[in-house]
Symmetry: C2
Subunit: 411 residues, 2 copies
């Protein structure tokens, strides 16, 4: 007998008929002799409807009330699933965030889970019940309702799995696993059977939108095994888990891309201590996240600084940097919105040399110019002209042998 | 400075624009120097939508989950109003049932309020805040969500007013008060300025649908003054309050009617001890509420029993009575669905004689036959043929001088 946490997203509970499907799958898992805890998102469209109401009434809705409002969506879906299971003859009980309670800090709309007492749930499971939990929501220590931010139900599920020391946390979604790259760009992309937390974090933060990044961090911290799979079939999906020796035999696990950044190039900067601080402190104060930063080797005491910011913050960042540039006597600011970042990710890089070189060669062979490079232990990212994005992804996917036909583990 | 509880129904918060109107009215009351607690229903249509979802998924929805589901409606309306007030610069905070907590018994979908601790609300009011409370919902002692039944928000409001010892509980609705009778039948019906709890209870239970009956019972028990008024204008409405000497000077306060009952006549019943129990115990076991019961004087040890039941239970009641009639050797069962009950209500009856006789004369003068009569201290009800309902109401309204033009208090 295993303890299984299953999380179903908004699409999977998007209609009465789909909720019935979820109930059947939950019942099947229970009938197979498992203890089952189900975590649900709101019915698809519902959260958007509620957010719409909030913005109809207020340009900047009061945060505390925003959380009260949007958390009502999950309240509906869990009640409906518990009803459906009861009707099928199962003992099923819904739990709202405050009923555990799922304790969070008091950052409304982006709260972090602090603590989940497991006593009530364990009791319910031991009495043979199926537990249905509202994802996305919690309560702070003053009993105010909080929410975890978009996609927060993944984090709820992993946190509940961690609290209960569940054997697996199954995340049901509308795709059947994590792919080596975006199948819309590379039809031969193959499903990854097992991927390490670190790789998944890089994949997620680089633009693969299967799992909320915080849920993976949480899973890594508490060693929760995540099984990403489809709610529309019974296929095994992708296991996200602790890195093992076998994973390292694969040099590159996936290729990702991100078109949501823009580049800022500050030319002719005096190469003196404190210059970087003068450029980046005002950006940070304006809540602009800087991603890649590159400083060219200094020539005659003069250097260039190049960095990327989210596309949505580009105009704001340019304004700030133009001001800052004056104080450091920079020669010129050049911005570029037409860039993309392509990356290769794999824990195998640690034990393989020449992975980056192989990436550069593959891009160069197609005449794709690399504008910026950034590397970490398990990832290499290159900024290129946005028009080459799809070509670059295909070329890299091919160069590292990730297509279905050639999923041969490289030694 | 007064402490005012204001309750707004579903129609009053039925759209974003109407919620803004409510916010303006709340703000005005606050600006006039009052402490304000607002109790809201769900936006009109929302509860029906949620009940619809429940019945789509299950013929008999699990009661515990039904309450979780439908209570989400008020969660939306209170958050939106609190947002709107915050936007207008007021300190406003929403409270869900569990956040007080509003403690109820564990009868799902028809829970009764047991206790409302006032500490949190008082603190919030003392700090200058406006408190916005979800009507209709509570929690039982095991922290399960409960609801109070249709129209339960009135009861929530009165209970909150009782807990806070509020100066007044204003119930905003789409009518501007309690009328001497249904203005659709008698256009000259006049608004009652002040009515006693007892009269209001008789009016409500007899078919005037302005206030939920339990809220009036609650108000009577705790001496809460209710002000029923319109959310669409600033007119004074009707005060529901403790009976005083002045009220007794009015002989009849209102005329009501009820077409929702049917009559069952059991003929030729042996007049022996235990006969009534044999007829009414099986009805009670089937959860059928019997309203009026009349037993004719016995003749030769044989009597008739006549009683009324809700129209919706009529067929079921006839079946049960036909079975029961066999065991007591009754001669014949005659049912009649085409009846109505018309009543006159007034605390003044206690000190005036001849009120019932005046009613019978008025009906008789129009050739309306009285089939059953039932009286209480402050009410006289007659069962008549349903086709005479409107005529009877008009005749009685006129006979007791209730029209606008002749609101002269009778001595």
């Amino acid at each position: 007998m295993a303890l299984v946490v299953q999380k179903y997203g908004g699409t999977s509970v998007g209609s009465i008929e789909r909720i019935r499907n979820v109930a059947r799958r939950v019942a099947k898992t229970y009938d197979e002799g498992n203890q089952v805890v189900v975590v649900l998102s709101a019915m698809s469209g519902e959260t958007n409807r509620l957010v719409g109401l909030a913005h109809e009434i207020s340009e900047f809705p009061a945060e505390r009330e925003y959380d009260v409002l949007v958390s009502s969506g999950e309240q509906v879906s869990i009640a409906l699933l518990a009803m459906c299971l009861s009707d099928m003859g199962y003992r099923a009980k819904s739990f709202l965030g405050w009923q555990f309670p799922i304790r969070t800090d008091n950052s409304h709309a982006r709260a972090r889970i602090a603590e989940i007492p497991d006593a009530k749930i364990r009791e319910e499971l031991q009495e043979g019940g199926i537990v249905v939990v509202a994802g996305f929501q919690g309560v702070d220590t003053n009993d105010n309702v909080t929410t975890l931010g978009r996609g927060g139900s993944d984090t709820s599920a992993v946190a509940v799995a961690a609290a209960l020391k569940a054997d697996v946390c199954e995340i049901y979604t509308d795709v059947d696993g994590v792919y080596t790259t975006d199948p819309r760009i590379v039809p031969e992309a193959s499903k990854i059977e097992r991927i390490s937390y670190e790789e998944m974090l890089e994949m997620a933060s680089l633009g693969a939108k299967v799992l909320q990044i915080r849920s993976v961090e949480f899973a890594k911290k508490f060693g929760v095994v995540i099984h990403v799979r489809s709610s529309f079939d019974d296929q095994t999906g992708t296991l996200v888990m602790k890195e093992d020796d076998e994973m390292e035999t694969v040099m590159v696990s996936g290729v990702t891309y991100n078109k949501d950044e823009a580049k800022v190039n500050v030319k002719g900067v005096p190469d003196q201590p404190g210059i970087a601080a003068k450029l980046f402190t005002p950006l940070s104060e304006a809540n602009i996240t800087v991603d890649m930063i590159i400083q060219n080797p200094s020539k005659d005491g003069i250097t260039d600084m190049t960095f990327t910011v989210p596309h949505t913050d580009y105009k704001k960042a340019m304004g700030i940097i133009e001001e800052a540039a004056k104080t450091i006597n920079a020669e010129e600011i050049v911005g570029d919105e037409n860039i993309a970042k392509v990356s290769i990710v794999g824990v195998g890089m640690r034990s393989h040399s020449g992975v980056a070189a192989q990436m550069f060669q593959a891009l160069s062979a197609e005449g794709i110019n690399i504008q910026m490079i950034s590397t970490s232990e398990i990832k290499v990212s290159c900024v290129i002209d946005v028009k080459y994005t799809e070509l670059a992804v295909r070329v890299l996917h091919d160069a590292f042998g990730l297509a279905k036909s050639d999923v041969v583990q490289e030694g």
